[in-house]
Symmetry: C2
Subunit: 157 residues, 2 copies
Amino acid sequence: MKKLNEHEKYMKLAIKEALKASEIDEVPVGAIILFEGKIIARGYNKRNKSQNATAHAEHIAIEKACKKLKSWRLENCELYVTLEPCPMCAGAIIQSRIPKVYFGAFDPKGGCFGSCVDFREIKGFNHYPNVQGGILQEECAMLLKEFFKSKRKNKGE
Amino acid sequence: MKKLNEHEKYMKLAIKEALKASEIDEVPVGAIILFEGKIIARGYNKRNKSQNATAHAEHIAIEKACKKLKSWRLENCELYVTLEPCPMCAGAIIQSRIPKVYFGAFDPKGGCFGSCVDFREIKGFNHYPNVQGGILQEECAMLLKEFFKSKRKNKGE
């Protein structure tokens, strides 16, 4: 078995969060936030369960991290998320000033760090994170693929 | 005195929310959400007070509206906000599928419906709201101008 590097190790923990989402029939996306190398927040998608449009994995993790650090500035933090952030979550990353973001699968239907648009190329924002995509990409994408496949099966499509 | 039209009337209510923010020393931005013509949610910026990076006026109003309607889909809703939405809030508008957005002042430092970027021109998103900016623009902008002026004065600049 291939030995995991540091980023893959943390992405595995984000995947663990994503699995919690699929267990409750939510689109499997998971996230964790580290502060100075320690995990301080976790989150998984709960949009349907909570009927809250903002309840995406990384959004939940960002709010938890703010609470934990008692600060809206998440400096010295790193975010790992299994899917490329949507405009809302990429925006929350900018607002919370997270300096480092690592994501798994690319998202052609909304991804804002390269797929639909790259927020780092838009002038005028007050923060630009360093972003690395494609960490355990296949595993992260497979989670989503399997989820939607099983949904279609249940619908008899 | 000039008679206010429908949009200006609602923007006045968003301004009332913005004033609540400046009263607690927060950047004065306010928002309201209507559902089928009735106000169902209000919000004002509380970022510093709450130390939560996501506590912007329209973001708070969106979460309240989801709670009220018990739905993450804010169809048949209209959002009025005194400042052009930032990437996070413009993203939350997309995620909650709000069809109509009206804002007051344009924001060259983050506005995502025309100033820094226009989300309606980015391909691949799953929703595109109708947006009208510049409603009571001067009044909305003046609120912010006065706020930052008094902050500088307090600092002795």
